[in-house]
């Protein structure tokens, strides 16, 4: 079966229902759609197991923060790749900032382990069922999640920088 964005989407909607596969669009040739945290693991497992699709490679995971979207501030992007058919797809899950909890993907993909730790470190996502959810890149004592948009980039302890040098 030749995989196209349309027939894969149709297949997924038939399997999971129209209310769980929403906002499908195609920004750069890679089909992108949104689902919810209740269905994400079942969906990825289905993509993995299905004989026609064989989407068995997790390319990357990335957190995104949209502070202006009320109630769905935190976004987790999963990008999957079917090496057999050279077909990529991107799945997004939105969760509210006060409750950034997602189920872990480590039971399907071993590689999700560090990706999820990175997402926890950068954005504060909590992955239920993760074997070892601790900070990975930053020091353990850090008190905030630095990639959230409200935190500054620069080192706040630096005292040799004077704003007038930078035209501020």
């Amino acid at each position: 079966m030749e995989l196209t964005n349309e027939n894969v989407l149709g297949k997924l909607i038939a399997q999971f229902g129209e209310e769980n596969i929403v906002d499908a669009y195609n920004p750069d040739g890679i089909m992108t759609f949104t689902t919810n945290r209740e269905n994400i693991i079942a969906l990825i497992q289905y993509l993995y197991d299905d004989k026609d699709l064989q989407v068995q490679f997790l390319t990357t995971m990335a957190g995104i923060h949209f502070p202006d979207h009320k109630g769905r501030e935190m976004c987790m992007m999963y990008q999957l790749h079917s090496l057999r058919h050279n077909f990529r797809l991107r799945i997004k899950v939105f969760v509210p900032a006060e409750d950034p909890v997602l189920p872990t993907l480590t039971n399907i993909y071993a590689t999700a382990n560090w990706m999820e730790r990175e997402a926890y470190d950068f954005y504060g996502f909590i992955f239920t069922g993760h074997p070892n959810l601790i900070r990975i890149l930053n020091i353990e004592e850090m008190e905030y999640h630095p990639m959230l948009k409200q935190y500054p980039l620069e080192d706040q302890t630096r005292e040799d920088k004077i704003d007038t040098y930078f035209g501020r």
Binding site: P27, D28, I30, T32, Y48, D49, Q56, F57, L58, T59, T60, A62, I64, H65, M77, Q79, L83, N86, R88, R90, N107, I108, Y109, A110, T111, N113, W114, M115, E118, F122, R135, I136, L137, N138, I139, P146, M147, L153
Partner: protein, 416 residues
């Protein structure tokens, strides 16, 4: 994981792993030595820390710690105009900076919808393949150093200097090249650069053949590397391996072939594939890839098309200096680009290139401003280094060092 996909081989491997895990459980109560390997250790070539549980010489467990040079690339990228992000990508995999630079440029070009002329694409291919050679050259020669062969390292480092001479002629820098621009190259290949590339193509095969001869059939080297740090194709895919390390395990996934970019479809080359996924296979795959890269450079060098070295995109590509002084329009564009006041269109793109260590991906979200809203780097080292624990368990300490250098983990790419 779906069980029906497993072959008999992997069943055996799993059985072996289960047995080993049982043994490890038994050993838990006995006296194990704790060994702290890193973060500064001469044999690790970078900043990695592994706290090992040792039973004599045998590694029972390892706890890796990373992040010792975390530099917050992704956060910095959200604050910089598009063209100022190229220097950041240099410092990711610093052994093959041009691949990172051009991968990033291609991502932005995809967002902007710019078509790049053939000549610029071919120049990019030449530079990217030179970078691949210099990356594999370091990895394989360091593997030699770690197994006790210093000569090869000193020998091929001279050749790397010649690659750096080419970089210098093309862009002015040696290591962190910041090569090219969004929309093409910053200048055409000079006659001297072409001459240097031609000379390199003539001289390098001899050097590389000698280097190969020194190690490939070397009894000591074979004893040290065959069967060391092996990983099955299935586990490698599950761990998200890409690049030479995945190909050594027997999966012929190469971004250059599967999703060609920058005219890679024009060139004839082969994808070397290993069998067992051990250190020796990784060494062989990298060796062969150097030959294939040479082949690609040769084809691109011979068939270098005429034409412009940059796209016709005045909004995004800096105008020539003499026009800036004489024409109003060019001055305005120059000012806007240099001050980073060019707004990119809204969009979301993912683009990946075959980096030195595997699929180097850039996931870029633009909200229509002068900086990316979010730029995520898919860094192959970060993704496959987590398999390291599994690969060294049950092996000896000296083998763990060889496994690490054959994986070619680059600290800058690992920690971002």
């Amino acid at each position: 994981m779906a069980t029906d996909n497993k072959t008999a081989d992997t069943d055996q491997l799993q059985e072996f792993r289960d047995n080993r895990d049982l043994k490890l459980q038994d050993k838990k109560n006995e006296n194990l030595t704790t060994l702290n390997l890193g973060p500064t250790h001469p044999a690790t070539h970078g900043i990695f820390q592994n706290i090992l549980q040792m039973d004599g010489e045998v590694i029972m467990d390892a706890v890796p710690t990373i992040g010792y040079i975390h530099r917050a690339f992704e956060k910095i990228a959200e604050r910089r105009p598009f063209y100022q992000i190229t220097p950041l990508t240099d410092r990711m995999n610093y052994c093959s900076s041009p691949i990172n630079n051009m991968g990033y440029h291609m991502t932005v070009e995809k967002l902007l919808g710019i078509e790049i002329p053939k000549r610029a694409q071919y120049i990019r291919v030449i530079m990217m393949e030179l970078a691949r050679i210099s990356d594999h050259l370091i990895c394989n020669s360091i593997l030699g150093v770690d197994s006790g062969a210093f000569t090869g390292f000193l020998y091929v480092m001279q050749e790397r200097e010649h690659i750096y001479d080419i970089y210098e002629e093309v862009c002015g820098a040696r290591l962190t090249t910041n090569m090219g621009r969004i929309g093409g190259m910053e200048r055409d290949l000079s006659p001297k650069a072409l001459h240097l590339i031609g000379e390199f193509l003539k001289r390098f095969p001899k050097v590389w053949a000698e280097f190969e001869k020194m190690l490939t059939r070397n009894r000591i080297f074979i004893d040290r590397t065959v069967g060391v740090g092996a990983i099955s194709a299935e586990r490698a895919l599950n761990y998200g391996f890409t690049g030479p390390n995945l190909r050594a395990a027997g999966v012929d996934y190469d971004v250059r072939v599967m999703n060609p970019y920058s005219s890679y479809e024009d060139f004839e080359f082969e994808i070397p594939v290993g069998e067992k996924g051990d250190t020796y296979d990784r060494f062989l795959v990298r060796n062969e890839e150097v030959w294939q890269s040479l082949k690609i450079i040769e084809q691109a060098y011979k068939n270098l098309p005429e034409g412009s070295y940059h796209a016709d995109a005045p909004h995004y590509y800096l105008p020539p200096k003499q026009e800036v002084y004489t024409s109003m329009e060019a001055l305005i564009y120059h000012f806007k680009i240099v001050m980073g006041e060019i707004d990119a269109p809204k969009g979301e793109v993912y683009h990946s290139v075959e980096g030195g260590n595997g699929e180097l991906g850039f996931y870029l979200i633009s909200d229509g401003g002068r900086t990316p809203y979010r730029l995520h780097f898919r860094r192959p080292c970060f993704i496959y280094y987590q398999a390291y624990t599994e690969m060294i368990k049950g092996g000896q300490l000296a083998d763990a060092i060889l496994t690490l250098s054959s994986l070619n983990v680059i600290a800058g790419e690992l920690d971002a």
